[in-house]
């Protein structure tokens, strides 16, 4: 039975939930101040590792493991960058934290910095989050005023500076090494790895980049322990996540639910999405933000939202941006819409993505507008095959997953466009 959880979202609906006084009344920052005095940084890293927390930005890498990559005795400052560049189509959960409980994030920042030995953190927010920027900056100011950031916090000897940093409208900046170059004031091209950011990141120093939601989990894990977190949700993919649903459902929204729930139930339940709008039939779901493989209605019926199930159905949880499409959706047009996104957002650094994504758009555009050819279907798949795994970063992969899965699973819809083109050609009329 699908149930909402209130861990990350516990304070979202409280009046003026973004302000410090309410946060502190609800016990905020106690875990942080206590940890500064009574816990060792290495303990916190171990705790987060044992909790099984995975990155919530889309890649799903073990957070504690990432933290443990910071090398010892390197003699350079360690930095934390919080990735608030939320731009994955279908995703709007980080913004909830930024606007409705920014202090939860900041307490997570404090704990994370303490754990990894960082004394400077940058919270990178996309510039389109005007309200988020105001609220997070106000929260940072409040934290400084309350001496929760700054020098010798609560007499612990721990110093921490937290700054806001802005993006300027580029999805690629959500890629962690692009984010680093963006902060450094360079054209935000992703970097080839190795070296990895934990060894050589921001300004050449060891750097951890974590998603907003990932960091927001830290105070809860530190307070209640790894075993508690590991017991939430699915055994092999523990935790509670913020799930976004948009598209053709009666009720869109963000809900916090433990992993392992039924996707079909989320869509149908009157407590959640309330079924498909206007009495229509479900056609497809993109489960993990646009950079995930699409699921057919049949596949949705068998899908539970956890990593092991996603492996079985050959898709991914990604950024938990669930996009629901009903029978009115033209899947060829859906593919075109998404591929335009990737082509527009391609940074242009490397050959396959820079040239491949606009090519895919041109082919799909022809198909959708009745000028497609039968060989275009295999062409699309082969272009994708030549992009995936051949680029500096995963943007091209993120484009290939929806493209290939939509072409493979909804081929008849493309063929309908091709038939239209063929009839027009035979009749001697332009499409």
């Amino acid at each position: 039975m699908i149930r909402e959880t209130k861990i990350l979202s516990a304070r979202f609906d409280k009046p003026e939930s973004w302000k410090l006084d309410g946060f502190r009344r609800d016990g905020g920052y106690e875990t942080y101040l206590s940890a500064l005095k009574t816990r060792k940084p290495g303990e916190l890293v171990a705790e987060v590792k044992a909790s099984g927390l995975k990155g919530r930005g889309g890649a799903g890498f073990s957070t504690g493991t990432k933290w443990s990559f910071i090398p010892e005795g390197i003699g350079k400052p360690v930095y934390l960058c919080v990735n608030g560049d939320e731009s994955e189509p279908g995703t709007f959960k980080d913004r909830q934290i930024l606007e409705r409980d920014p202090h939860q994030l900041l307490e997570g920042v404090g704990l994370t910095c303490y754990a990894i030995g960082a004394h400077t953190a940058w919270v990178y927010l996309r510039c389109e989050f005007a309200e988020g920027l105001r609220k997070v900056q106000a929260a940072i100011d409040e934290a400084y005023a309350a001496k929760l950031f700054g020098k010798n916090i609560a007499g612990s000897g721990f110093d921490l500076d937290v700054h806001l940093h802005l993006g300027a409208g580029a999805y690629i900046c959500g890629e962690e090494t692009s984010l680093l170059n963006s902060i450094e004031g360079l054209r935000p091209y992703p970097r080839n790895k190795p070296p990895f950011p934990a060894v050589e990141g921001l300004f050449g120093c060891p750097t951890i980049i974590n998603n907003v939601e990932t960091i927001a989990n830290i105070p809860h894990i530190v307070k209640r322990g790894a075993a508690w977190y590991a017991g939430l949700g699915h055994k092999e993919d523990p935790g509670a996540r913020l799930w976004c649903v948009s598209g053709h459902v009666k009720t869109c929204g963000v809900w916090e639910i433990e992993t392992g729930f039924s996707l079909q139930e989320l869509i149908d339940s009157p407590q959640f999405c309330g079924g498909i709008r206007d009495g229509r039939r479900l056609k497809a779901v993109i489960p993990g933000g646009s950079s995930s493989r699409v699921l057919t209605a049949d596949e949705v019926r068998q899908t539970t939202m956890d990593v092991p199930c996603m492996k079985r159905v050959n898709s991914s949880l990604g950024s938990a941006g669930i996009i629901v499409l009903d029978e009115t959706a033209d899947m060829a047009d859906v593919a075109l819409n998404l591929m335009k996104f990737y082509a527009h957002e391609s940074c242009g650094q490397c050959t396959p993505c820079r040239e491949g994504t606009p090519w895919v758009v041109k082919v799909l555009d022809r198909i959708v507008h009745g000028r497609g050819r039968l060989e275009d279907m295999d062409l699309l798949l082969d272009i994708a095959d030549n992009m995936e795994g051949r680029t500096v970063c995963a943007l091209a992969d993120g484009a290939c997953w929806p493209l290939v899965s939509i072409v493979q699973k909804f081929r008849p819809e493309f063929e309908a466009h091709l038939a239209r083109a063929h009839r027009a050609a035979v009749a001697g009329v332009g499409a």
Partner: protein, 154 residues
Amino acid sequence: MFDAALTAELQTLRGHYPVPKAAMVPVLRRVQQQLGWISPEARDWVAQFLSVTPMEVHEVVSFYPMLFAEPVGRHVIHVCRTLSCDACGGKELWQHLEEKLGVTRGGTTADGRFTLKAAECLASCGTAPVLLLDGERHENLKHAAVDELLEGAR
């Protein structure tokens, strides 16, 4: 080029970083907030302020969609074109705005009041369709609401 208060604000921003160049985007966004766009003079001022070449500023400004190297109207509208918005009223919203304002994507109205641009996913998919007016988000937009919104933007 800027008054004492703004210059002080930009200096504080610059001071957050170990190298001045890292203040590039925050400084440019703040300057753009003031001037509406990044003029050649603004670009050169920022270059000097950050101890970099005008070319480095140009390379950055020309990259980011939210940094404007050309003048814009008094009000800038960004309408989301990505999937969820497109599937939930976005197509109709575009049509309505293009007709109402008499411009196509990227264009500025003849009276210089509005520039209409496309944006990619604005992270508000559940309340589609969504637009930004002068950087502030407006969601669940029925056409009447849009008209009212634009009325208020003089």
